[in-house]
Amino acid sequence: MENTQENLSSLYGKTLMLDKLFSYCPGCGHGIVTRLVAETIEAMGIREKTVAVVGIGCGGFSHHYMDIDAIEAMHGRSPSVATGFKLASPDNFVFTYQGDGDMGAIGLADVLHAANKGVPITCLMINNTVFGMTGGQMSPTSLPGQITATTQKGRDTHLHGYPILIPEMMRSMPGVKYLARETVADAPAIRRAAKSLRKAFECQEKNLGFAFIEFIVPCPTGLKKGVKESYVWCKDQMLNYFKPTIFKDETE
């Protein structure tokens, strides 16, 4: 066992903490995004100066699997915490890791203003269309008709509006230098997401301005689906509304 871990460490480097047991549920999209983040940090050689500001929700666990400093902010406030941090310590690499509830509901103002100010931080929103940790309630990104713990007959757009499209809201902001929506629904998409993440991180390293990626991922538990089924649903239903796009790349 120890031998295997060593072998894995030589493959993955120091950032990913392979001795930690995942608390993500089987099939959770967070596992893939967290690994992509760890690999990007490792590949860029920025582990020692990286600080994660994580949200409340399952995304808050992400830093436990990485050998980096981390701050667990109050619900929704990670971009504001990261703004104050980056200002006082500009040599650190600072990114936020938040879910769609944390960022899209309670923390929408924080992320939009950080984006509009062009704060040189990187914000990641992992969108699985539900409040996962609290038991699968409707989030601002739940799809029309989606059945959740709090919309048992499906999301009614007359009552709850339509799923919120955050990158689209940031498109017109000149301070935003890298802006994309990616997904982990299948292997080619994961490879594209990895490239995008590298760009978003380099945007901060070059001190260009704000970078943002929304990741569309499945939450088998919250969606009350099997792992395979949840990936199919993610690809067919979620991507139909949340279309993977590179909205802006001003990193070159």
């Binding site: 667990e72 902010a73 109050m74 990261a82 006082a88 103002a109 924080d110």
Partner: protein
Amino acid sequence: MPEETLFLKNTETFAESMVRCGVRFHFAYPITPASDVMKHSAVILPAFGGRMVQMESELAVANALAGCACTGRLGATSTSGPGMSLMQETISFMAGAELPCLMLDSMRVGPGDGDIIGAQSNYFQATRGGGHGDYRVIVLALDSGQSAVDLMPTAIKLAYTYRTPVLFVMDGVTAQMTETSTFPEPHDYASEFDTSGWRYTGTKDHPKRFLLTGSYTHSQGYELNERLRAKYEIIKEKEQRWEAWGLEDAELLIVAFGIQGRMVRELAARMREEKKKVGYIVPITLWPYPDKAFEKLPKELKRVLVVEMNHGQMLDDVRLAVNGRAPTSFLGKTGGDTPLCTLAEIKAEAERLLEA
């Protein structure tokens, strides 16, 4: 920059003082009567290598301040009334996370939108912890620009020694007054503290650290609270501050803080000249409350009079400290063109109580 005397609005004096003592990042959102602090800090901070950062709400202000504190550097904020209420969740967070910072509540009339005129109506919010959980922040009462200058080094030392938010309260009447304050030579007190043992600035010089105020197990919540309790007990024991006068034989003890305390100092001296046995206790720390000031009350004491710009908030703490040893009276008001008790009003009440 040698010692100098400046004639400034007390909000501006507060800004000058915090910057001259080491605050380099001031996060704020406009609100009367605190706005002049950010207006002034925006002008003076660049020369000190710092910045005033205007955020989009008090929620963002408090959280950016928390982020700044995570780096070990000293940040500050200033606000009033509703702004203070909006920050409470994050003040609870910073207390739990043991992050040092400075805050000013330039108190105005509440509740709700309230009124922009000065008040002392946030005593409960400041001293009881307006946010959730068993936490406290150190609260220092200001009664003039000079008191801000004099207390600023202490506040920074308290913030870093105990790793806690320190909150100044200054009623809006005092905040809006313009007066002379003498500043000593600038000195960066914040940088004297070694933060390398706890700051979250990357794993280069320490194993992974993470700031957690939540609990994954019930025992974590218990342990955090026990750790905080132990710290608060030390603060209560060591950091009570107050001014007392005339306690050796006072028949009437007046207790007041901030501008009302400042007035009571003059009143007591005047009444003593008239051979009336008046003494006072003026708390400087509102938390920890200076209970020790009340330990030895004069045997001649007939009555205690509490004067506040509210409807009786510190009164609770005075009653706890006096603990039934003397009857307690209250004089106070909030709002209006003259939103505080005038010297004449306090004197009349003091004389009435002495004759009763």
